[in-house]
């Protein structure tokens, strides 16, 4: 009997018991659907997160005050930490301390809203240095001018605003030269950003940028920074600069032991690693759940195959009587199990694909995430092969029982 014959025979056997075949593969369908969904969404999430961090630039290092958050409880501490001050900025700027530093910019986030002649809007209000932001994130002023070191040193009340802010406050009219109010203080709009959208952590269409000195003095009334963004000479200098920055800040804060650090550094590499670690752990956990689902599905298949073998004892006996060998019978039933589960796998792949497409639509439409639907080919391959392997593993026992039946016992069976 050729493999093709075995295959056709197995297919025929399944067709004769359609409804049972359908129920049998339910477990497999669910398991494979879960795999596809998991892989697709995992992929999408990774892409989404990496895209966002990607804007940070591989050569950039961000210094944040407080202890590095290892869990949600540490987050508050970071927000209110006040360890990064002007003297740290000066220390970092010194060429001898951090030789590969190219640009450095403190940044502050100002909570609150912006208003203009009765119109109010809540953008992200940032205190920073536009020159460096422009260089780091590749954002440019289309109308008006940018503020420079001069305005920063003068604590000038000037602002550069994003395109959406213009839309909201000025209805698309000319904004340059107008005065907007932030926390009851008037700021002159000197420039409008070109539409850019999300880059790294900011949406540059919904941003208002003022000199960091002004933000410290007039808007927040604080003498520290929320973070310091440092651009190095290139990605290859990041590791070296991280060490330099840590040493400089420890010296500036008189810290002996790295355990007592009241600041931490964020690099693109570090964040990517972190994200991948988290997603990896999540995937491993979900994989084990899926593995359990597949084993349960496999046991279901085995159970039904055993019932089928018993029910079809007469058929097996007859086949043997007319010349089927043990191998023929074994192959027939093994094929039945594998076809069954592989079919379940295919259904699972289609179902998983449809569900993850729905999920991506939901995520983009409802949550307005920049989600990209991804359907990894690897998952298709994995889905089919995994389900077939499940069929092979859990089909072998029933198939062996079938093959070992003596023709005469099978024929006498009532």
């Amino acid at each position: 009997m050729t493999l093709k014959d075995s295959f056709i025979t197995a297919l025929g056997g399944l067709k004769t018991h359609k409804s049972r075949s359908g129920l049998t593969i339910l477990g497999i369908v669910i398991g494979i659907t879960a795999i596809i969904l998991m892989m697709s969404i995992g992929n999408g999430a990774e892409q989404l997160i990496l895209n966002e961090i990607g804007g940070l630039g591989a050569e950039t290092i961000v210094v944040r005050p407080g202890k590095e958050p290892t869990g949600p409880s540490d987050l508050g501490e970071t927000l209110f930490a006040d360890s990064l001050k002007r003297k740290d900025l000066e220390a970092l700027k010194r060429k001898g301390n951090v030789p590969y530093l190219r640009e450095i910019m403190p940044a502050l986030l100002v909570p609150g809203s912006v208003s203009y002649e009765g119109e109010t809007y809540r953008p992200t209000i940032m205190g920073g240095s536009f020159e460096i932001m422009s260089a780091t994130f590749n954002v440019y002023v289309t109308k008006g001018t940018a503020f420079t070191e001069t305005e920063i040193n003068q604590n000038a009340s000037v602002a550069i605003i994003g395109s959406k802010v213009v839309q909201e406050l000025f209805g698309g009219g000319d904004a340059v030269g107008e005065f907007i109010k932030i926390k009851d203080r008037k700021f002159r709009v000197i420039g409008v950003l070109e539409p850019k959208g999300q880059a790294a952590f900011f949406n540059f269409d919904e941003i208002v940028i003022v000199p960091y000195t002004t933000a410290q003095l007039y808007l927040l009334g604080i003498d520290y920074f929320h973070e310091i963004i440092i651009k190095t000479e290139g990605p290859e200098f990041v590791a070296r600069s991280v060490a330099d920055i840590e040493r400089t800040l420890r010296e500036s804060h008189s810290i002996e032991n790295s355990k007592d650090d009241d600041f931490f550094l964020v690099t693109q590499q570090g964040v990517v690693k972190q994200v991948q670690t988290i997603l990896g752990a999540l995937t491993a956990f979900l994989s084990s759940v899926v593995a359990i689902a597949l084993v349960v599905g496999g046991i279901g298949v085995m159970n039904i195959m055993l019932v089928s073998v018993t029910e079809r004892t007469k058929e097996i006996g007859l086949r043997k009587a007319i010349g089927a060998t043990e191998k023929d019978i074994l192959r027939q039933f093994l094929f039945e199990a594998v076809i069954l589960t592989a079919f379940g796998g295919i259904i699972g792949i289609v179902l998983g694909g449809v569900l993850s497409l729905l999920a991506s639509i939901l995520l983009t439409q409802v949550l307005e995430l920049k989600w990209v639907f991804s359907f990894p080919l690897m998952a298709v391959f994995l889905g089919i092969s995994m389900s077939a392997v499940v069929g092979l593993i859990f089909g072998i026992y029933p198939a062996r029982i079938a093959a070992r039946k003596s023709p005469i016992e099978a024929l006498r069976y009532e």
Binding site: M1, D5, T9, G12, T16, K314, E315, G317, L318, R319, K320, A321, I322, G323, A324, T325, E326, D328, S406, P407, I408, L411
Partner: protein
């Protein structure tokens, strides 16, 4: 050389400690082309004998030579191969695959044979034609009468052109008219196609279609005689 030769054949069923002797010291030989009827009371061991002769079961003692070779010399694969190519079976309860067409049922032995794919359909159709069921070729067993089912079973048994056909009470479940039709086919297979036939039956009349009747009682041969006045189903049928 006889096609089938058994000497002191024994069969003991063991069910734990309980031993049931089903056959004791059976000896006979059958030449190619012979038509043998086996008779005997219920439980005398007829089916047991047939199953052993048909390689479906193993004997416990004595020797069985098929085509001059003792059965112990056959590997399992070879046994399956002989069953497929040289033997055909017809059972009292038909044993057709349910929800499978007549054509597919008859094709079944070809699946395990060396007959090439391209020829199978034609070979099966010819077998079906020879039992007069060409008009039922796409019917399923549930749509057939008992007599028709048995004719399908016969078509299946002869599709591979076997040397010997074993029939265990093929007319047992049929009315006399269908029975006659079956006997006519069996007799024709023997006379025209030269198939060796083993036929188990309870009815003396049916048995007298054969050339030779072996009577079994309590697992031993009671008598082994030639039939002098054979019935001819074909004459009767065509009359």
């Amino acid at each position: 050389m006889p096609l089938i030769e058994v000497t002191d054949l024994q069969k003991i069923y063991k069910d734990g400690e309980v031993k049931t002797p089903a056959l004791r010291d059976i000896s006979f030989s059958v030449k190619e082309g012979e038509f043998v009827a086996i008779m005997g009371p219920s439980g005398s061991g007829k089916s047991t004998l047939l199953h052993i002769l048909g390689f479906l079961d193993r004997h416990s003692g004595g020797t069985y030579r098929f085509n001059g070779k003792t059965i112990d010399d056959y590997t399992d694969e070879e046994l399956a191969c002989v069953r497929n190519e040289k033997m055909g079976f017809v059972f009292q309860s038909f044993n057709l695959l349910p929800k499978t067409t007549v054509l597919e049922n008859v094709k079944l032995p070809l699946l395990y044979s060396l007959v090439p794919h391209s020829k199978r359909e034609e070979v099966a159709r010819r077998a079906i034609e020879s039992v007069g069921l060409s008009h039922r070729i796409y019917h399923e067993p549930s749509q057939l009468s008992g007599g028709e089912k048995q004719r399908v079973a016969i078509a299946r048994a002869l599709v591979n052109k076997p040397n010997v056909i074993f029939a265990d009470e093929p007319t047992g479940n049929l009315d006399s008219e269908s029975g006659k039709k079956i006997m006519e086919i069996i007799q024709r297979l023997n006379e025209e196609e030269g198939h060796t036939i083993f036929l188990i039956t309870h009815e003396t009349y049916t048995a007298e279609h054969a050339e030779r009747i072996i009577k079994i009682k309590d697992g031993a041969i009671e008598s082994d005689v030639k039939v002098h006045h054979r019935h001819n189903a074909r004459e009767k049928f065509s009359k």
